[in-house]
Symmetry: C2
Subunit: 250 residues, 2 copies
Amino acid sequence: MALTPTGKLERDGEERAFLARYKAGDYARPAVAVDLVVLTVVDAELRVLLIKRDEHPFKGKWALPGGFVRVGDGQKDQGEDLDAAATRELEEETGLDRKWVYLEQLYTFGRAHRDPRMRVITVAYFALVRPDLVPMVRAGGDAAMADWFLMRNLGKVSLAFDHEEIVRAALRRVAGKLEYSDVAFSLVPLTFTVPELRAVHEIVTGEKQDPGNFRRRFNRMLESGVIEKAPGKRITASKPATVYRFGRSR
Amino acid sequence: MALTPTGKLERDGEERAFLARYKAGDYARPAVAVDLVVLTVVDAELRVLLIKRDEHPFKGKWALPGGFVRVGDGQKDQGEDLDAAATRELEEETGLDRKWVYLEQLYTFGRAHRDPRMRVITVAYFALVRPDLVPMVRAGGDAAMADWFLMRNLGKVSLAFDHEEIVRAALRRVAGKLEYSDVAFSLVPLTFTVPELRAVHEIVTGEKQDPGNFRRRFNRMLESGVIEKAPGKRITASKPATVYRFGRSR
DNA sequence: CCAATAGTGTCTTTTAGACAATATACG
DNA sequence: CGTATATTGTCTAAAAGACACTATTGG
């Protein structure tokens, strides 16, 4: 073994040699998937995008869009990042550009036997889609059929795998984030009114919001510059509402 | 194909047949690990448990305790749940019983090339250990060496893999949870004083807490029964402090 | 007695919540 | 005009933050 001035270089060389020699053991490995809980609010209803399975297992049942993470087959090619896999699935299965959608890792579900075929660990993500983008959604090629299900009907559907549990976890997370973050903005069009934003809160949390009190919270966001007035008014059944948009700073 | 009265039974039979015939494709699969960010607060310092690697890659560097998830090799044997893997690693690498430790899934890290050997996706968990349990911790058999590192020295250490990123994510999560949850109780002994609990908050969040205001928050927990008075006083350098413990309801 | 810190009290500001009152459309 | 609802206003209560004050110990 050659003498080196630092010892560190030597260690690096040693590690390089180790890696060159390294052969992955043939231990059993799980399949790893990403599944997406794609949510939107249209016509005052919270909906989740589901895809009808056309293959076993759970053939004919509704399931979350998703797929296996692409893993390369060596040290050089290790495949795609998890976020990239989620983004790819989103774009493949909905045609929606990542850029217009809020996407966040939710939780990893890996119970044994959650998939009867084999051990599958799924990294679940949730995506929030603005209602004006919903018409752009087209089911991807590998989906026999896609549909936006009413969240309040979830109990009646019997989803594939543990996907109902995943959907409920996503809902809890989104409802929680409404309180302290800006996620609600990902569920309204680029311009919106106070009542529209309030409706999103009510629909996601399932609880009525006092219009006056909600307006006060909204005003604080206005003052802080998160939101700014937009031109125009929204015509409604009664008094028209002022239209707002997110501030430039965002 | 036999006629069946419901069609559902038929579908189940079909699926059973599918599963019996099913052969897992030999697609590349990632290795899946669980890594643990084990945190404690001793002597007014936040510390994280690290283990010195005695194998390549990153031989000689410090890393989070963890290991590969045990995956069975078929439909029947699918191995252990993720939480079980985390619990097992905790017990193996620290000797601590799951029962006495707060354990929660943190986030899943799966960047390509985060491990130079092969594609490894790690489901990170964090664990909170009461200071009085720290002396019980003994490094597991497969660890050459374990040590509790000062969190504030993390920048100087250069951890293996992306483990520094994981530790920082855990810290953010714990600091966030202090605000609205009971996790702080997992970082003090079974009985504790108000200043001790306050110190945990200050150490984890890195921000001073006003003693008076903190005491008021504490009093609210007292009234709600989350906490109750315990016998004895804690002798300090000055005026002794009253000792409390968690309420029976917990 | 004195230094240190546990524990209390006070005052201000912010935020939430309940709810009344007003304003302004559309039909 | 009248109904609906956006918007403003008022009042109360809870909670946070700043900070002064008191109490009780060990040294």
